[in-house]
């Protein structure tokens, strides 16, 4: 008799939760509504909680902000940063579907294999390197940080280009068509695994780590040699 009671209790506890996890609307009410309002109508700034309307941003923006872990943010007045998402894959899908139902562009399907890495390098230097640094290591921009693209997936890159998250500009299809975005993705993939023929890449940041190596490795080694072969008594 005991086991049956236990099972009944367990089922009673689990069923509503399973049901909740399946429903994007419920997840939205739990985690997003404070800042984005009922039905994605948005909450104007002023209080502690605010956020833009989500009507019309589409599954594209929802997928980007959720898979990067940008959303949910803790504080509405700070730049969202990449982190692992608190949601399971199934929960992500249902949330994306729910926000997509407000209308807007779908999740893009980039095909980087169509792109050219050489064109990608050119387009990336022209359009993105000013913020994300030429090797996609990220950097400081006025008012925030352009993150490294080390962990960005092809879909996230294609989404970011069209959304223009936070300080990033939005690129229309006229400015960069889908083929060009494919090329950019090819290039970012190269930058994630660069061709370091010269040896240890020391962060692909140029002179700052190079100076550290010159002082802390070469300088230290040579002073060490001098100390060994030179006299030490004053």
């Amino acid at each position: 008799m005991r086991p049956t009671v236990l099972i009944v209790v367990l089922v009673a506890l689990l069923v509503p939760q399973l049901g909740g996890a399946d429903s994007g609307a419920d997840l939205y009410l739990q985690s997003c509504v404070t800042c984005h309002g009922r039905g994605g109508s948005g909450v104007p700034p002023g209080g502690k909680h605010f956020g833009p309307p989500l009507q019309g941003v589409g599954a594209q923006a929802a997928d980007f902000y959720l898979t990067t872990g940008y959303m949910p943010v803790q504080r509405a007045d700070q730049e969202p940063v990449r982190k692992s998402s608190p949601f399971s894959d199934a929960e992500l899908r249902s949330l994306v579907q729910f926000i997509g139902s407000f209308g807007g562009p779908p999740v893009p399907h980039p095909r980087p294999e169509r792109g050219s890495v050489s064109e990608g390098l050119e387009l990336f230097t022209a359009n993105c390197a000013g913020c994300h640094q030429v090797a996609a290591e990220g950097g400081l921009v006025v008012g925030g940080t352009a993150p490294t693209l080390a962990d960005s997936t092809p879909i996230q890159i294609a989404e970011a280009v069209r959304i223009g998250p936070y300080l990033m500009p939005r690129f229309t299809r006229k400015q960069l068509d889908d083929r060009q975005v494919d090329s950019i993705i090819r290039y970012v993939q190269l930058a994630q695994h660069p061709d370091d023929r010269g040896g240890w890449g020391i962060g692909h940041l140029g002179p700052i780590p190079e100076g550290l190596v010159a002082w802390l490795i070469a300088g230290a080694a040579l002073v060490g040699v001098a100390a060994v072969i030179g006299g030490r008594a004053p």
């Binding site: 640094q133 190079e210 006299g231």
Partner: protein, 407 residues
């Protein structure tokens, strides 16, 4: 062997008196005296690798299209100069190794010069009769910086143009070589300095003779310098220009920086409050002048004027062949340490943007933190250094002669 060789030279060139003197030249022995030699040998590596590179470098800004082996640059428009550096990196035998060794040699050369400068400053090696060697070294540093600045093809800045190239590979290196030789001649003519010690006096040098003591050791140091530089050249990537892509005026990359030895100028530009000197609408002195020109000029002027300042203060006009222990000269050591700490803070401020990204301290806070650091750190360093020096030297004297410490 040596005897036969010297006889040969003597009979053909009458070199005996000179050789006898040279072979008997005595080198005082202290590790810190080797810092200048490290700089010298880095310079030698710099020149040797540079000669190899000139065989393949194309100093031309003419447009060309890349059709080499590196896929990501395929079909891109670039200058001949850039293409030739990519080819040196990927096509020429040992090209990348030599190119990277060349660049590391430049970076380490300046590190060694700075260390040597600190050594000369803190031991009082600049005093009469060597004050003119110090004056000599200013053009050496100037010429070196010029050659390095024109050589560095860092991202976002076009590297060479014909005339600058001649200066980089020919005129300035020869000028530096000549100045370095003069510097060494002056050192030899006035003889090396030494730390005071048993049997060492102003007139008597104790140390290693040229042969067999000094020559093998300095050759060993030369090989060690070459080894470190070639190892870095082979193992640690520096300025991978194929990753930066061809330069174009419109496309800068975030975080473009000059090589490390200009970091202090970047720092000064960033910390300097934003004001210029204007007359009506006309800007007489634009803001970058303060950080980029006036600040380094003041630092060099300080170094240049220091022997005079010190002579004024101590009224010491004697000839000095014995060095000071930094702790015995607490005033000089403290002033020097505090000035160098000032420069070091400015230097660190040159990487504020990277600090903001990696550590997360907002840039605007950092500006104020570093500015406050400039006001707080140097005086603090002055006081602390002075304290440490007097304690050290007091302890030393009380060990030598307990009664003297009381005085």
């Amino acid at each position: 062997m040596i005897r036969r060789a010297t006889r040969f030279l003597d009979e053909r060139a009458g070199a005996a008196p000179f050789l006898r003197k040279a072979l008997r030249y005595v080198f005082p022995d202290h590790w810190s005296f080797l810092l200048g030699e490290i700089a010298l040998y880095s310079f030698v590596v710099l020149v040797l690798t540079g000669i190899y590179l000139t065989l393949f470098f194309e100093p031309s800004l003419k447009d060309t299209v890349y059709h080499g082996s590196y896929e990501p640059l395929q079909g891109q428009k670039m200058s001949e100069a850039y293409r030739s550096v990519v080819d040196i990196s990927f096509k020429v035998n040992a090209g990348l190794l030599i190119r990277q060794t060349h660049h590391w040699a430049a970076d380490v050369f300046v590190v060694a010069i700075v260390l040597h400068l600190l050594r000369v400053f803190f031991t009082g090696a600049f005093r009469k009769p060597r004050d003119y060697s110090v004056v000599m070294s200013v053009p050496i540093v100037g010429a070196s910086l010029a050659v390095l600045v024109w050589g560095a093809g860092y991202p976002g800045i076009p590297s060479f143009e014909g005339r600058m190239y001649i200066a980089h590979v020919f005129l300035l290196p020869i000028a530096i070589a000549v100045l370095l030789s003069l510097h060494l001649l002056l050192v030899v003519a006035r003889h090396h300095t030494q730390f005071p010690g048993p049997k060492r006096t102003e007139r008597r040098v104790v140390g290693l003779p040229m042969v067999p003591g000094y020559v093998p050791r300095t050759l060993g140091l030369a090989l060690a310098v070459a080894a470190v530089l070639v190892l870095l050249g082979g193992l640690v990537q520096i300025n991978p220009i194929w990753q930066w892509g061809p330069y174009s005026v419109a496309n800068g990359t975030n975080g473009a920086q000059p090589d490390w030895y200009l970091g202090w100028l970047i720092g000064a530009l960033r910390l300097m409050p934003g004001f210029d000197v204007t007359i009506g609408d006309y800007t007489l002195v634009p803001n970058p002048f303060w950080g980029g020109v006036l600040f380094p000029m003041l630092v060099f002027a300080f170094l240049f004027a220091w022997p005079t300042i010190e002579r004024r203060r101590t009224d010491d006009r004697d000839v000095h062949n014995l060095l000071d222990h930094p702790s015995d000269m607490s005033w000089r050591t403290a002033v020097g340490a505090s000035v160098f700490s000032f420069v070091a803070v400015v230097f660190l401020a040159g990487s504020m943007d990277r600090i903001a990204v990696s550590v997360g301290v907002p840039y605007t806070w950092q500006i104020w933190i570093f500015r406050a650091g400039l006001l707080v750190v140097p005086p603090l360093v002055f006081v602390v250094t002075r304290r440490i020096c007097s304690e050290l030297s007091e302890r030393k004297w009380s060990e030598v002669e307990p009664s003297m410490a009381r005085e």
